[in-house]
Amino acid sequence: MMVMVLLVSAITGLGLYLAQRNLAATVENHLQREFQSRLEALRGVQEVRDAALTEICRTLVRKPRIHAALEDNALDLLYPTAKDELRDVMSPGDPQSPKGALQGLFYRFLDHRGAVISPPGGPDAGELRAEEEAQLGLRGLPREQQLGYLLRKTGKAREEITEVIAMTIISTDTDGAIAALAIGFKPVELGGVPAEQGIRNGIWLNGRLHSPALAEPAQAVLGNEVTRALATADRAGGRIAIEVEGAPHLLFYRQINPDSLYPRAYGVSIFPLTDLLARQRQLRWRAFGASALMLFGGLAASQFFSRRLSMPVERLAVDSEENRLQRARAEAALELTNEGLQRAIRFSADASHQLKTPVTVLRAGLEELLTRENLAPEVRDEISELVHQTFRLASVIEDLLLLSRADAGRLQLNLSAVNLSQLIEAGLDDLGALPDAPILAVETNFPATLHIAGEKRYSAIIVQNLLENARKYNRPGGRIRVTAREEGRSVLLTVANTGRPIPTAVQEHIFERFHRGSVGENVPGHGLGLNLARELARLHGGDLRMVRSDAAWTEFEARFCVAAPTSIPASSIA
């Protein structure tokens, strides 16, 4: 019992542990998907904003005044013109819009070689230090817009990352790149859109991470982590599990300016895992608590129910032991029966052969005795009776032989067309010819020819047995009614006799071997007739059954198959 309890506890514990682990993994996956979807959302915002900025820049670089300044030898008018043309972009704009997402912070023109054209001075084009301005320059002017990130000082100790979109200006006259316009915007990663709670965004540029939401040391550590990851792993993007301020975080990085001539920059998003861990811990405790509770509950319940259930189970065990014994006995009996049956079959086969000869010898001896003249009449009667008995014995042996052959499956009929009507008539003739035949009225109703599929000698036995029974079990002065008719594919022969009805309890046994009706203890017979007749009827493809047995009539019905017309010999039909 104790082992059982321990085993159940162990299995339950293991199952719950696995379930808890599975659940924890699901929670983690769910959270990661959440991170990914937030990243996707951020990316979506970036894409929309980039598209907006690109459109703004494209409109600007098509301005005829800017083209005129560049193409009509009026560079001195370039920045003054741009001041007008970029007024909308550079103004703080709609206070309702996300703060400064589309607001330009500075702009510079690049000449046809990609070098920066410095503005004449003043704050109109946005303040940039000389080295910062130099970083805007490109090696040549590609046709596609370039996305870059620029680190610039905005105060004494303050630095800020700026997103730079450089759009090439294509001459409407020559269709060649004549200049480019580079505009600085506040990056969406750094507050261009509001970040969700707990998630910190930043930009990795030139080996350093810039994230206003993180302390300087953390920025330095994470910057190095990203640098290391980029040196070994996928340069397009990836994720790292890291520790920030002693708590586990997940860091996602993704290049935000692929195919750009500007230095590579990576958008970095840091998700705290503290929530996840807390949730997992809580989940684990809940799982363990629930499992312990369930286990103890289960054990208590099992104790209770096992006591309730054990008694009937024990009873059941006793019963089943008895059943087992009974079954064994029954099987043994069956085995015996089977053996007996086999023996009986063998016996019938052997005995009938072995007995036939002695019976013949016996009858010959008895008949020899009868021929002696000095026999007293009572002795003669005795011997006559004995001779009669030998006939009976021979008949039994004959029947047994036939039955044993049927049982052994060695009796096969050569079916041909047999005129049943003839057989009936012959049988009735024999009946009348018997020496001690009682006076019986015979009623017949059958056509002159009625062909069945059978083998004459065996078909005759059926008819004879039925007629003999009808005679034997009749009452004195009784009646026999024989009818035969074709019905569909069958021929039905009914033989009925008057006399005492067969009791219902006995009816089911009348076809058994060696059964003799209780009504006929004084009637000669050996109880094989009906059994043999039925076996033979079945061998004919038909059957034999008792139709009724009441005060008026006891009636048997034999069913035969109608002979196939081709197999009917011409002589039989006549």
Binding site: A68, A69, D72, T172
Partner: protein
């Protein structure tokens, strides 16, 4: 405006117009004539059905298409007292004529015949101006006086494809050739001059000429 009323049909043919203008401006008693042909760059563009120029760029140089040349005589000439007011129309979103040659000090009006705003401006060093946006019914018709020689590129701030050229010349003797390059300058004073042929914003050909009274000089450039 008088010219427009007097020559409403010829107004659209700058060559004729300029010849007339040159003849009107000429002093009585000038005798010399230069005739000739300027070898113009080949063009593969389709024939211009309405016989007017448009300004195209080839190799960064602005030139009229089909090509024509502005042939002018450079030298010291007495100041012209009064110059005719000329016009460049904005019609069907194009400058007509696309190329105009004027003498320094000439006033050019820019009527807007389109049913929309135009905004003509020039950042060219010889003349920077910006007429701002105006409608067809703008009165008075916006105009500019071109007081420095040089090439002025006209643009429209609203329709970036529009281009026009005004060649401001410090001479009263100039003519625009036909599209075969044929030209004829009449009523020229005798003397030594330089005959120039402006072909594009980057190409101006020149040959020295000596003009004599009552003679016709045949010059092929180059």
């Amino acid at each position: 405006m008088a010219a427009k009323l007097l020559f409403p049909m010829k107004f659209r043919h700058p060559l004729t117009f300029l010849l007339l203008a040159a003849a009107l401006a000429e002093h009585a008693g000038a005798q010399a004539v230069i005739e000739g042909r300027v070898e113009l760059p080949k063009t593969h563009s389709a024939p211009v059905m309405i016989k007017r120029y448009e300004i195209v760029t080839k190799g960064g140089a602005l030139a009229p298409n089909p090509p024509v040349a502005v042939v002018y005589l450079e030298g010291l000439f007495p100041q012209t007292s009064s110059l005719p007011v000329q016009q460049i129309l904005q019609t069907n979103f194009a400058f007509v004529p696309a190329l105009l040659a004027v003498q320094v000090g000439a006033k050019v009006e820019f009527p807007n015949l389109d049913n929309t705003f135009h905004n003509i401006f020039s950042f060219s060093p010889s003349k920077r101006f910006d007429l701002g946006r105006y409608r067809p019914d703008e009165k008075p018709v916006p105009s500019q006086v071109f007081d420095k020689p040089g090439l002025v590129t006209l643009r429209c701030d609203i329709h970036e494809h529009m281009r026009g050229l005004i060649l401001v010349l410090d001479t009263p003797h100039f003519v625009i050739s036909d599209t075969d390059g044929q030209f004829s300058l009449t009523n020229l004073p005798p003397g030594h001059y330089t005959l120039k042929a402006w072909i594009s914003s980057k190409t101006t050909l020149e040959v020295p000429v000596e003009l004599r009274t009552n003679t016709t000089l045949h010059v092929n450039i180059p």
